[in-house]
Amino acid sequence: MSLSPLLQNLMQGLRCLPGVGPKSAQRMTFHLLQHDRLGAKRLIEALTQALEHVGYCQYCRMLCEETVCHICSNVKRDKAKICIVESPADVMAIEASQQYRGQYFVLMGHLSPLDGIGPEDIGMELLGKRFAQGDIAEIILATNPTVEGDATAYYIADMAKPYKIQTTRIAHGVPMGGELEHVDSGTLAQALVGRRELE
């Protein structure tokens, strides 16, 4: 039996969400209409508001509804330090580690020549301007441990050079609490290449 056009339409709409296949979309559709019509109304309102008002912080490109996000406007955070990440989810992950009190810059991607993603697509013009303003003393490159993440980190490090900004790249390798025999060979090989001297 096929469902009515409006139900099908809703299911199709839900499938734009990550991890939602036909089965989950059908479950969500029935749930909203059968048990939680009020929840559905709230969802519509939240989506409408977010779509209308959420943009990018003009300093760090983090998603937010103000012109300057709450991290960039927080006077307790170290303005001389910027951690550069690929996505808003990475900001949340680093915040959760509670080891960092500086600011961020969110690239919203990485350089990828084969996908046609170049420097202007990841905010390099804005970052260049911030370097030129001269109040940044240190950057931490926290792009992903992929070849594209490495290339992006190098590009930014090169861009920072003339400004004498201290530049570091976060360490990558063997996960904590894991046993070596369970670590995949690619990750282990990377960890060996990037090994450090014991002090």
């Binding site: 991890g19 084969l114 070849v147 490495d150 190098y154 590009y155 290449v193």
Partner: protein, 239 residues
């Protein structure tokens, strides 16, 4: 039974995310040329393939499938990891971009596959790696059927070491005489043409002129879209 390929030597050219946990891969394989694969669940935290399915690693891959898109069944490392960074990494991306854009799927070039591995390793380790890059460009043009005429000029006369030539990728070299207006054409020494013919670009001036010839020839095949890998460098490369 689905067609099955076991332990095929391969390199990943490019990866894209697919759904929540999978990857789509373009691979350059020794015996099957360029192929597309799906690696199901490869982005899961505990996937054994997680750290392996990335460009510039020598792999042995096994896969099944009849359609254009094969399904990866296993993959293992078959050599040492290259330490590519900075300009060297950008050059490695450039090589992959050439292969991704110019190779037709399923056309195998086993010799070029071996040469590709060598060039990557030279790019990672040797000082004079741009020479290897030039020879790879030359080799690629050759296997694609666009071999450059380097030993003879357009009229079939042997190239002479101490003469200057105008070089046209389609036609070859024409001796420079005072009657020819060289506006916008590539001017190259006979010495460089012969050096490139002999795969010997140790001298910087030969390397530099060879780059101009080879990249002009490649541009014809690449069409209007410029090479994207050059945007990986904030400071353009000298060589």
């Amino acid at each position: 039974m689905k067609p099955r390929v076991e332990l095929e030597p391969a390199y990943v050219l490019h990866t894209r995310h697919y759904r929540e946990t999978s990857l789509l891969l373009d691979c350059f394989t020794r015996d099957h040329g360029k192929i597309s694969l799906i690696a199901k669940g490869a982005r899961r935290l505990k996937s054994p393939q997680k750290g392996l399915l990335r460009p510039f690693l020598p792999l042995l891959i096994s896969y099944v499938g009849r359609s254009e898109l094969k399904t990866l069944t296993s993959c293992e490392l078959s050599g040492s990891l290259l330490n590519l960074s900075g300009e060297r990494l950008a050059c490695a991306f450039y090589i992959n971009e050439l292969l991704s854009r110019l190779l037709h799927p399923h056309m195998a070039f086993p010799e070029m596959f071996l040469f590709y591995g060598e060039v990557l390793s030279i790019t990672a380790t040797e000082d004079n790696y741009t020479q290897a890059l030039r020879l790879f460009e030359k080799n690629l043009l050759q296997v694609l059927g666009y071999e450059l005429m380097l030993q003879q000029d357009k009229h079939g006369e042997p190239i002479q070491k101490d003469k200057e030539y105008l070089f046209f990728p389609e036609q070859g070299a024409i001796e420079m005489t005072s009657a020819i207006i060289a506006n916008g054409s590539i001017i190259v020494s006979g010495e460089t043409l012969l050096a490139l013919a002999n795969d010997n670009l140790k001298e910087a001036k030969h390397n530099f002129q060879a780059k101009i010839i080879l990249q002009a020839a490649l541009r014809r095949l690449l069409g209007h879209k410029p090479i994207q890998s050059k945007f990986l460098l904030h400071t353009p490369m000298e060589v």
